[in-house]
């Protein structure tokens, strides 16, 4: 029997899938019951608190092997990654920079490439971590970035991009307005302070997710 899962803050599909014993979250994402959610949120990694994910019944896979022999079963688990592009305050990539990206207690020493990019694998249940590059240091929360069509998702991205948009609910009107207008100005959009569909699309593009 299918189960309805209500998404909580910080949850993404891979983590939800793991909770229900699914090794591959794409099984859930691709299920026809979640077509509307998929359409709405586009990415399984960026869900919004309150979203409903329908967890289908797990299919029982039958493998037939003869007895009296040893068999190796390789279970395919969909791997999850964390990609971060580091930039200076004005958006220039910080290249060849040594940095530490910790997901829970698993710390990796990495070096940014010519785009300022670092990549690492993360377990589906990793939520808290730490990012450190030179003297820059910040705690990270994996899975906490909300969809770009929600105000919290817009502020989250603007904050990551250094625009300091204030609290996630946009309640600091001046900060939010300044962040949206500065972003629009930097990206050749019409500067009106309204984070509409065009600005949202650009925000997603510039942020990278």
């Amino acid at each position: 029997m299918a189960t309805n899962h209500i998404v909580k803050q910080g949850e993404h599909l891979a983590r939800i899938a793991a909770q229900y014993g699914f090794r591959d979250y794409t099984t859930i994402w691709g299920h026809p019951a979640n077509a509307a959610l998929k359409q709405k949120r586009k990415s399984p990694h960026v869900l919004h608190p309150g979203d409903t994910v329908i967890i289908p019944e797990k299919a029982v896979k039958t493998e037939t092997r003869p007895t009296g022999a040893q068999h190796v079963f390789r279970v395919k688990t969909k791997k999850l990654a964390l990609h971060i592009k580091l930039q200076d305050a004005t958006g220039k990539p910080i290249t060849s920079e040594a940095c530490d990206v910790a997901a829970e207690s698993d710390q990796r020493k990495l070096t940014t490439n010519s785009d300022g990019l670092v990549k690492r694998r993360i377990p589906a249940d990793a939520e808290s971590g730490q990012l450190q590059a030179g003297v820059f240091q910040a705690p990270i929360r994996i899975g906490h970035l909300d969809p770009v069509d929600e105000i919290s998702g817009q502020v989250g991205r603007l904050n990551n991009l250094g625009y300091r948009g204030g609290p996630l609910d946009g309640s600091d009107k001046d900060r939010f307005l300044s962040a949206v207008e500065e972003f629009q100005c930097d990206n050749g959009l019409k500067v009106d302070g309204i984070c509409g569909p065009q600005t949202q699309a650009k925000l997603k593009e510039v942020h990278g997710s």
């Binding site: 990012l131 990270i140 997710s209």
Partner: protein, 475 residues
């Protein structure tokens, strides 16, 4: 009184007045970075946002009016900046000059840019940059040579921008002292040495910033992008009300307007989180020498409202809505250096009379209020007028060999006996204790005053006498 001896130069760096502020910012934001897990094609971008950790402000008091030349009083703010920089090792800095909203946008942009350049040149000991500012004679010019000579102990006489015999003598003394060719002309070599010595005086021997290391854009742009810039009049901390502006439009009120606007004319430095980096070419502010087009791109969409003069005067510290530039607002909005504005300024006007009550026109005087020293001549009517900090309470006036200690506070009205006594006393009469109580000396002083001005001599403070006293005294 006889005026025959030239006054000796004041110690321009002495005193307890204040021409700025140095302060720490509130703790930086440590809220977590929110990320999404990613597929191969996605990523999260994390920019190292600009967070100011401390700020410094130098007020208008440290510049000549309408000029970018820092006066010798700036030594005090330089000492404060030195302590601040030492307290935040590795925190890169950027300099922002500001003007008041009077005059054309473009003119104010350039004036504020020159003030930022002057401070940058001071901190990096870039005498070539100072020479560039000097060449702009509308702003610096010969008067600055005289000011520097005075501060360095070579008395140039009257500070008026005219290199007369006395000034040339001072130049020669300076040249002699510094092993330069002695010709009495402040040419490029002499100026270079003057700049070096004067900067040494202001910054002290061991405070020097490295333009390629200590500034935000690390000197990557020869025009100083990211390192120093002028905001023009776009980010005032004080906007006068409509009625005040109308009143100040009248030419006779311009001096008062310039005093009221004083807090807007400032130079602010931010120290950013250590390790902060910017790309000079992507830095949003135009160069100090460039026009206002780049600034306007950064205006809030409702900048018109923010810049508009309203029914009430507005202060950034209270309303946070007087900056037109949202980029500057983002950096400076929470800064104590912008929220605590400078004390206002007032004009101190004094008419100097001799013992026979005749004005002393074109008379050299030396006025010290707080740590601000003035040294020039009275006007044709024997009057001196100087801008002093509003909270000033004491000063000294030297005139020839005489020194007067000044108590600066509102004068009681002439209808009160104390108001009568203070006025008479300032006019040279003996009023005894002058404490608001009637005494024989005051009665005698009133009789003398009445006699001199053809009034009924009765020693009474009557309305005729009060009116005459007000007229003679000036207010």
């Amino acid at each position: 009184m006889a005026v025959d001896q030239p006054p000796s130069p004041p110690d321009p760096t002495a005193g307890a007045g204040t021409g700025g502020i140095a302060a720490a910012h509130a703790e930086e934001d440590t809220s977590p970075v929110l990320l999404s897990p990613t597929d191969a094609s996605d990523h999260n971008t994390v920019r190292m946002a600009l967070f100011p950790v401390a700020c410094w402000r130098m007020d208008d008091l440290r510049f000549a009016f309408d000029s970018s030349f820092p006066n010798a009083g700036a030594a005090k703010e330089m000492r404060e900046l030195k302590s601040l920089v030492e307290a935040y090792p590795g925190a890169p800095i950027s300099i922002f000059g500001h003007a008041d909203p009077v005059g054309a946008d473009d003119y104010n942009k350039k004036l504020s840019g020159r003030r930022a350049m002057a401070v940058f040149g001071l901190l990096t000991r870039d005498v070539a940059m100072w020479e560039t500012l000097y060449q702009d004679t509308s702003d610096w010019g010969p008067k600055t040579v005289e000011e520097m000579l005075l501060a360095l102990g070579q008395d140039p006489g009257r500070i008026d921008g005219e290199l007369d015999d006395e000034a040339r003598k001072a130049v020669k003394e300076f040249q002699q002292k510094n092993g330069l060719a002695v010709d009495g002309i402040a040419g490029p070599l002499t100026r270079k040495k003057l700049f070096q010595e004067y900067i040494d005086l202001l910054c002290g021997p061991d405070f020097r910033l490295d333009k390629n290391k200590d500034f935000l854009a690390q000197g990557a742009d020869s025009g100083g992008k990211g390192d120093y810039q002028g905001c023009g009049e776009f980010n005032p901390v004080l906007l006068l009300s409509q009625s005040e502006m109308q009143e100040f439009e009248k030419p006779e009120n311009h001096l008062r307007r310039n005093a009221e606007n004083g807090p807007d004319r400032r130079v602010v430095i931010f120290l950013f989180r250590p390790g902060s980096r910017v790309d000079a070419q992507r830095w949003p502010c135009p160069r100090a020498k460039e026009g206002i087009a780049g600034c306007k791109k950064r205006f809030w969409s409702d900048a018109g409202r923010r810049r508009a003069v309203g029914g009430e005067r507005r202060e950034f510290g209270k309303t946070q809505d007087t900056f037109a530039c949202r980029f500057y607002h983002r950096i400076a909005g929470d800064s104590p250096c912008e929220r605590q504005r400078a004390p206002g300024m007032d004009w101190l006007s004094i008419t100097l009379l001799d013992v026979e009550h005749k004005p002393l026109p074109h008379t050299p005087y030396q006025l010290t209020v707080g740590d601000r020293g003035f040294r020039t001549y009275t006007d044709g009517k024997g009057r001196l007028s100087q801008l002093v900090p509003r909270d000033s309470s004491q000063g000294t006036l030297r005139l020839g060999g005489q020194q007067f200690d000044l108590t600066i506070k509102p004068l009681p009205p002439v209808e009160e006996l104390l108001g009568v006594q203070i006025r008479l006393k300032n006019l040279g009469y003996d009023c005894g204790a002058a404490d608001g109580n009637l005494n024989p000396e005051t009665t005698e002083a009133l009789r003398q005053f009445q006699d001199l001005h053809g009034l009924t001599v009765d020693g009474e403070s009557n309305s005729d006498t009060q009116a005459k006293l007000k007229e003679v005294y000036g207010h």
